[in-house]
Symmetry: C2
Subunit: 492 residues, 2 copies
């Protein structure tokens, strides 16, 4: 390792120390912060992010980066780190300060307007803000540059190396088949109604079950923990400090359990990254589409499987006595129902991707100027009708339901479905190995986690997401595995 | 406010943002940090404290301080801030980097050695480390400078403006009287044994009572909270973000309750400081001896009083059914027992100060070279015998019991007794006001808190501690009020 490269590593480690301090403040804000403390916390975070931005985009960074680039390395990790640092540096430096500030101010205002619009079901209150955010997104895309269409530049913020055309090609194959599969699944569930949970599920008992399950699937509680919040997330505060969060509903223990398994999936990815490279690209998760594959693997493939509940249902019955006259089969039928719903975050596995396909197509049209902001509600409802055979009666339950656009997050949604497809594909490859499969059926997930550690986690950002998929499974993201999984689960 | 002063304020506000971020990381470390995350947390804190030190001692600070000092201000707050900034800047800059690092390294090693020595009851294991720390303390005292003796310079770290001779004068008056009062109190308690708590006190019920009591005496939970830790403390993370901590014993609910009242006393002082001056001396607590007066006021004067329990005992009986056949008087007798004990932190109100007087005298002798480190155990035991009429059988229960010396904290102990004396004196002054007194007897503490807000909290560090005491009570710290309080409580 040459000296110039080492100096760049050191600078990035400094940035990481400040960044992980800011993440700790962010975690505290979402879990324990007293109400009146929000103002000072915002001042702290804005100060820290200013310092971090200055360090990551400044002349010192540039000089060190250029010096390190002079000495070409054929080491995989070093060249991956240089590639990612260059990418990030250029991306940040292409935006003028004026635009960064305008963008931040506009999203603050848009978020407040979106909340009011959603509450009052008045899209018009949000429309002028969305116009501004779309204009800003286009401006950014022009400054960052793209090959085919502006969406490329935005998608790349979340899914490194992904091109819109490639994602569109995957989704084009996927779309008719998932629409049909979802239709059949909904039909089948409708014809065979499931028993409903009833009674009171005390938070303490839920916490006990969640903790036992998370530990048993491989989340390391000596390097992480679970706390309570309003909008659950997983955040990394250090190489061995992964914080999961969840929320509890006392009428349904499965919401927090699947939530914890989902966040633990994110958390185990983070716990499996190369620890000594913490904060460097080689020690960081590579993309949202890969991250989401790990959360969905544990939530959906493990958490909703027969083998898992053969082991865990008796424990759930101990903790929740009202479950004692249920059979495992009844329960599995209940947690694997398919039903059309208006709200994305409430959707089941079979219908979830329809929500994403709608948003992906719509976002592209908005950015390409094929549709005006004012026409979004109508376009939303029309597309919803064609996919779900029904449509929302209000924009609150339609195009106003998600916060993403108000946060300036255009290009984000597609990574959810990429995550679904990647999860099924990685699960398929892992369980080709007979010992992984057999252990999985016995609810022993050590071999499955080991496979993910070796084939996904250990690589950090050394490979771009599609190269990682190829290396792990022999091909880029392919929707066949996810469709096969859904058919087995809902139509089998 | 002139421009130079304003620039210095801004720089100090930046330092405060970083400092309060570090405090948040420190709070998390003591409450929620996963075991394996300690290493990264240490790296973060060391990085932040390095940055803070550099900002608070650098040429930019110096230039801004000198410029601000040019324009002499007759504004009380501005001149107090300049006085304290100058004091802090000089104090930090008088220590060479080499000494700071040696001191930090020596205390790390000393702490580990102290733990082992205490566990094995072998003073010799700690002695060579203590020799080094004493030498370092003397070095620092020489560099900082002092008028009469080295102890002055160390005491000043905790009690701004205090001189050893003045404290010694107070303690010399106090000493024979408190020794006699304690003796009588112990004798009286011995002759009239108290009933003992029994049964199980569930943590959840304790938390409920603590929360209700803390809110009722005036701690603002919208600007603070209570969490669980091993060694309870109160820390300030922002102008409206005060975190109390406590620990629970399931055989005795009073430990966590009095602990919370103590920490809430610290917390209410912090909540009462001028919010807009957060992080400036004018918005910061003035000394440990004043801070401790506030915690002891609520723990001892309020928490162990008849009026308080007239109101709260029925609630305690609801939460802890095993208390239902107790009378308030029985309970008050139990929580106000005097007994000689070897360990300072277990001591009751009547005997606590004896532990401090011993340490103060011993520390002075050590620093003046009147006693060698090797002779500390014998000196400790001899002094203990003269004050308590008994002595420890082991050094673990004697001179090895406290961590302070191993942390390099010589000069700290005396502030505990100053806190006791100040608490009684401030309480006496406040309750001279008949409406404060009457409300106090009815367990309504709004007027008492208001008096403290106006006479103590609101002044931040505008006045030095003894000036603050004079302004609030008409005289400097005077032990008479504390002696009178103890006599009323234990001998009345």
């Amino acid at each position: 390792m040459n000296k110039a490269y080492q100096e760049l590593v050191s600078l990035n480690q400094e940035i990481t120390l400040l960044g992980s301090a800011a993440s700790t403040l962010g975690w505290d804000q979402e879990t324990y912060l007293p109400k009146k403390a929000l103002g000072h916390r915002a001042d702290q975070l804005s100060y820290l992010s200013g310092k971090i931005h200055a360090m990551a985009t400044g002349k010192d960074f540039q000089a060190k980066l250029e010096a390190a680039e002079q000495a070409v390395s054929d080491n995989l990790t070093e060249s991956a780190n240089l590639r990612e640092w260059r990418h990030g540096f250029d991306k940040s430096n292409k935006l003028p300060q004026e635009l960064v500030e305008r963008s931040s101010q506009s999203t603050s205002l848009a978020k407040a307007a979106w909340e009011e619009a959603r509450e009052k079901n008045e899209f018009n209150l949000f429309a002028p803000h969305l116009e501004k955010l779309v204009a800003i997104a286009k401006e950014k895309a022009e400054l960052w540059g793209y090959e085919d269409e502006p969406y490329d530049a935005l998608l790349g913020c979340y899914e490194r190396g992904a091109k819109t055309a490639d994602v569109a090609k995957i989704f084009d194959t996927f779309s008719p088949q998932i629409i049909e599969t979802a239709r059949l699944a909904v039909e089948k569930s409708h014809g065979n109604p499931a028993r409903k949970l009833s009674g009171h599920f005390p938070v303490e008992a839920q916490q006990k079950l969640n903790q036992e399950v998370a530990a048993s699937i491989g989340f390391d509680f000596d390097g992480g923990r679970i706390d309570t919040t309003t909008h659950p997330f997983c955040t990394t505060l250090g190489p061995q400090d992964i914080r999961l969060t969840t929320r509890y509903y006392e009428h349904d223990f499965t919401a927090s359990l699947f939530g914890v398994m989902h966040e633990a999936g994110h958390g185990m990815y983070e716990q499996g990254l190369p620890m000594d490279d913490f904060g460097l690209p080689s020690g960081s998760a590579v993309s949202l589409g890969i991250h989401e594959s790990q959360s969905l693997l544990w939530e959906a493939h493990v958490g909703r499987s027969q083998g898992f509940w053969n082991k865990w249902f008796p424990r759930a019955q101990e903790l929740f006595p009202q479950m004692q006259d249920w059979s495992v089969e009844e329960f599995l039928h209940t947690i694997n129902q398919a039903k059309y719903s208006l709200i994305r975050v409430d959707a089941d596995e079979a219908t979830y991707d329809l929500h994403i396909l709608l948003r992906f197509a719509l976002e592209r049209k908005i950015l390409n100027g094929d549709i005006a902001v004012a026409d979004i509600p109508a376009a939303w409802n029309e597309s919803f009708q064609s996919k779900f055979g029904m449509q929302p009666q209000t924009d609150t339950e339609g195009c106003l339901q998600d916060i993403h656009w108000a946060m300036g997050g255009m290009g984000y949604f597609s990574t959810y479905s990429l995550g679904n497809l990647n999860a099924s594909q990685l699960f398929n490859s892992a369980t080709k190995n007979e010992s992984v499969r057999e252990a999985f059926d016995q609810a022993d997930y050590t071999p499955l986690l080991k496979w993910m550690r070796e084939n996904v986690h250990a690589h950090g950002s050394n490979y771009l997401p599609q190269d990682l998929m190829k290396k792990a499974t022999g091909e880029g993201t392919n929707p066949d595995y996810h469709l096969a999984h859904l058919k087995r689960r809902f139509l089998g």
